[in-house]
Symmetry: C2
Subunit: 204 residues, 2 copies
Amino acid sequence: MPADRAPTRIQRKNRAAILEAALDVFSSHGFRGSTVDQIAKAAGLSKPNLLYYFPSKEAIFNELMAGLLDTWLDPLRALDPEGEPLDEILAYVQRKLQMSRDFPRESRLYANEIVQGAPRLHDVIAADLNVLVEEKAQLLQVWMDAGRINRAHPKHLLFSIWSLTQHYADFDAQVRTLMGDEDPFDAAPQYLETLYRRMLTPIS
Amino acid sequence: MPADRAPTRIQRKNRAAILEAALDVFSSHGFRGSTVDQIAKAAGLSKPNLLYYFPSKEAIFNELMAGLLDTWLDPLRALDPEGEPLDEILAYVQRKLQMSRDFPRESRLYANEIVQGAPRLHDVIAADLNVLVEEKAQLLQVWMDAGRINRAHPKHLLFSIWSLTQHYADFDAQVRTLMGDEDPFDAAPQYLETLYRRMLTPIS
DNA sequence: CGTGAGTTTGACCAGTTGGTCAAATCAAGG
DNA sequence: CCTTGATTTGACCAACTGGTCAAACTCACG
């Protein structure tokens, strides 16, 4: 285990390689389905060498998750109370969709955990996420009360955005099989834009 | 292994108990994360006894999946070309939502597999599901061309319905945490009805 | 109540897995 | 070049896992 000092060049490189490899392996086999050996090999290290940098399989997972969750919620944090409501929401949808395209492994890693009841995530969800969701749901409610977007259950609206955008990452295997040659991400932005525009444009 | 004759009373009872237990265990830990012992205990049997009824862990899983997929696609099959397009689609959405409420474990089992790249499902998806989706996507296209519902990418429309409805089962842990006391299924039907009505009602 | 098929189990096995450890190797500053 | 701390590794361990097997038990039926 590296000492408490500033990390050496090698430490930085190897820890990064391990986390990258772990993302790959964990996101495609889940926590239980992944082995330390798999991760080590993917990172180009031997198993004991990997365990020299991280004390345990779970430590790798936790560090990965902690780093992930922060960036995962950034798009929602960026929802601006001062902006034009419909534009803000549509932009949020596109940002989220973009993340599914650019970081599908992160999305699947998160999905894997939640589907299995979030045994290693309950605390974080109950704390950080809950606060953020309450805040943004209230913002949506204010916009609706002011007649600037159509009425809809604010939390269900947020759920639907997560669901629709992450679907393209989480169910990638299914989506690609059914779309054949067509790239799902060609039509998805247009489809979601239309959906939420029709859904939310105020009917005077 | 029971002989090839008609199953005895005990065989029927135990095989059913095993499949029920397996659904529970597989859906909350995934295939790799589940152990035969867990399933056996949940079914009230010893491990060797369980393996007397099924030749292997994978055999249990396969039988479970085969039985599941059929009923899973029934709601889509029921989409009636002769019906009123908007009503048909809205009814499909509600049927699918109902399944998420009544059979969340089945939904999660399926989700678990797809998220991990569907290693044990590729064939089925490529065959049965693909045919059904092509057929129904074409039906949607006909309805759109006739101006009976708004235009939208037919396959993305189907994906969105799956995504939004299954979300309540697959991400149950997250949804319930964020909804607090409120039952997600109270407002979900209304929310989805509104969403698809606004989205699809033809703008003359 | 006896008997043969159907059912159950304890003991066991080989392969895998997370993790340890002492010894070997390497890298950088003096 | 040599020392010292950082890095790497082969050998190893205990726990777990999927699966086997022969022996024991139970049940329905004549």
